[in-house]
């Protein structure tokens, strides 16, 4: 027995904690994305690394400059800025000029996060705010898809990657079309195997269905993501594309193609599930997922753009406060007659 009383601490109960912390959850997502990132490098070469680094740098630098001043740089440590940068990078085309990727990272954090008050306060998915900004700002560069690694193998860097800041990337780029673009504008399907493995043109991180799903399963096992969201998105998309496919199978792709093409998996597993910007209630998560699914099918099938994942998520982000408000669970013992 110490004779002197310890200097007691007053901290409100409960003193026990489950153990998972927010930075740990963010790190988990980074781990889950590691294979996808490696695949991006495998398929698109060194240029992919540069684009990813540029967008991560843009994000991290912005976070550090604005968000950290008062908190002494701590907010970089929670890892969310890196995650945002990485996720943004994974949605960019391989040939994007690095300065654009950097700008995108900066906008993601600046407009998508800092302005709202930092982690947890933003109402739109930061990475997608960045991407939507880039797409509207540089529509040509953002829809120019470099082909898979060519003769240079790993050391492939697209000439357009190296465009000078604020300057155009030149028009001589070798381009190819994404499976969705081929489908929409040329009614040409891509074999499912390629979609699953990922050797197709497209954004850096969206091509390999297999690895995306594997990462998702890891996150689900770690309880880091709300499984309801990807499940409801994918089911909705399958159902509605099946219906459309039955109506006109030349114009509308089959359900599996819909699920494995474009940003569907990346978006539904890693971005629609961003806890901050998706509904907090379980019922809300279902509604959110169905909403994203419907919007994607609407935009992909009838819209002007071949891909609608990003816009669907952003639109449902906008509706999230409303969804949350109207899907509060029934409080125990309320709203039900005495039975």
């Amino acid at each position: 027995m110490t004779e002197k009383d310890p200097n007691l601490l007053l901290q409100h109960a409960p003193l026990l904690q489950q153990g998972m912390t927010t930075p740990q959850a963010m790190r988990d997502v980074l781990y889950a994305l590691l294979p996808v990132t490696l695949a991006a490098v495998w398929f698109f070469g060194l240029g992919a690394i540069l684009v990813l680094l540029a967008s991560i740098a843009g994000a991290a630098l912005t976070e550090w400059t604005f968000a950290s001043q008062e908190k002494g740089g701590e907010s970089l440590l929670d890892g969310t800025a890196l995650l945002t940068g990485l996720l943004l990078g994974l949605t960019l085309p391989p040939g994007l000029p690095l300065w654009m990727a950097f700008l995108g990272g900066a906008v993601s954090i600046g407009l998508g996060k800092v302005i709202w008050g930092g982690l947890g306060h933003n109402l739109f998915n930061p990475a997608l705010v960045g991407r939507a900004f880039l797409l509207a700002t540089f529509p040509i560069a953002m829809t120019t898809w470099a082909p898979l690694t060519g003769a240079d193998g790993f050391f492939t860097v697209q000439p357009s990657n190296l465009a000078l800041p604020f300057m155009q990337s030149g028009t001589d780029a070798v381009t190819s079309a994404t499976p969705l673009g081929l489908m929409k504008f040329e009614q040409q399907s891509t074999p499912l195997v390629n979609l699953i493995i990922g050797n197709t043109a497209g954004s850096l991180g969206e091509t390999s269905g297999l690895l995306l799903i594997a990462g998702g399963i890891y996150l689900w096992m770690r309880r880091d993501l709300d499984w309801r969201i990807p499940v409801s998105i994918l089911i909705t998309v399958m159902i509605f594309s099946a219906i459309l496919d039955m109506v006109d199978s030349t114009r509308f792709p089959d359900p599996l193609f819909s699920v494995f093409s474009g940003g569907m998996l990346l978006g539904s597993i890693y971005m629609a599930t961003d806890p901050v910007t998706s509904p907090i209630t379980p019922k809300g998560a279902w509604i959110f997922g169905v909403g994203v699914g419907l919007l994607v099918v609407l935009i992909r099938a009838f819209g002007g753009l071949p891909e609608g994942m990003m816009y669907s998520i952003l639109l449902m982000n906008a509706a999230t406060p409303l969804i949350d408000r109207y899907t509060q669970p029934r409080v125990f013992g309320r709203g039900k007659a005495l039975t």
């Binding site: 109402l123 939507a132 509207a136 935009i299 819209g303 816009y311 952003l314 409303l322």
Partner: protein, 192 residues
């Protein structure tokens, strides 16, 4: 029919009055603090837009063919007066409806969405049905934007938005991001 559908979708989503045409920003920024108010303002606006479409069609068909140069001034006078008249009617006969929707009417009559609707329905040569569908799409689109913004603002109320940006600046940026998200609807139903 196809045309009517596109007019509707276009005014509702693709060329949303607020988010793509910058119309009705005063109420959009001013009265979107509370979800409930925003929704009711949206309804009231939809109502006024419908009245406007009606008035504009009436003026175009019966008055302005004789003096097209009076369009602007007659639109504004006729619409304002009609709405004021309806406001008085509501106030007299349904105080509840007045409290729910009527109080917004004076605010709405002077907003530019109303005038724009009248003018562009005229310029595009819309008939009565087209005009009404246009007004309906625009009104619902306006309500949608209002309600989304109001929901977001109520939520942002609980966030640590830095003091420097709180208020109009933040609302504009939210509107900007919303507008960016609505770009996803571009080309809807016109690509086929």
């Amino acid at each position: 029919m196809d045309n009517l559908f596109w007019i509707f979708i276009s005014a509702l989503l693709i060329n949303n009055f607020v988010l793509a045409y910058f119309l009705g920003l005063c109420p959009f920024l001013g009265v979107s603090g509370k979800l409930d108010t925003a929704f009711r303002l949206g309804l009231a606006t939809t109502f006024v837009l419908l009245i406007t479409a009606l008035c504009a069609w009436f003026l175009n068909t019966y008055v302005l063919i004789y003096a097209p140069y009076l369009d602007l001034i007659s639109f504004i006078v006729v619409i304002a007066s009609t709405v004021q008249f309806i406001e008085m009617l509501i106030k007299k006969f349904s105080p509840t409806l007045f409290r729910a929707l009527g109080i917004f009417l004076p605010l709405i009559t002077t907003n530019c969405a109303i005038l724009f609707l009248a003018i562009s329905a005229t310029n595009r040569g819309y008939g009565l049905a087209e005009g009404l569908v246009f007004a309906l799409g625009a009104g619902i689109g306006f309500t949608l934007a209002m309600v989304l913004l109001a929901g977001l603002r109520e939520e942002a109320e609980l966030s640590d938005v830095p003091a420097l940006i709180k208020g109009t600046a933040m609302n504009l940026i939210i509107a900007g991001i919303l507008s960016m998200a609505f770009m996803g609807f571009a080309g809807l139903f016109s690509s086929t």
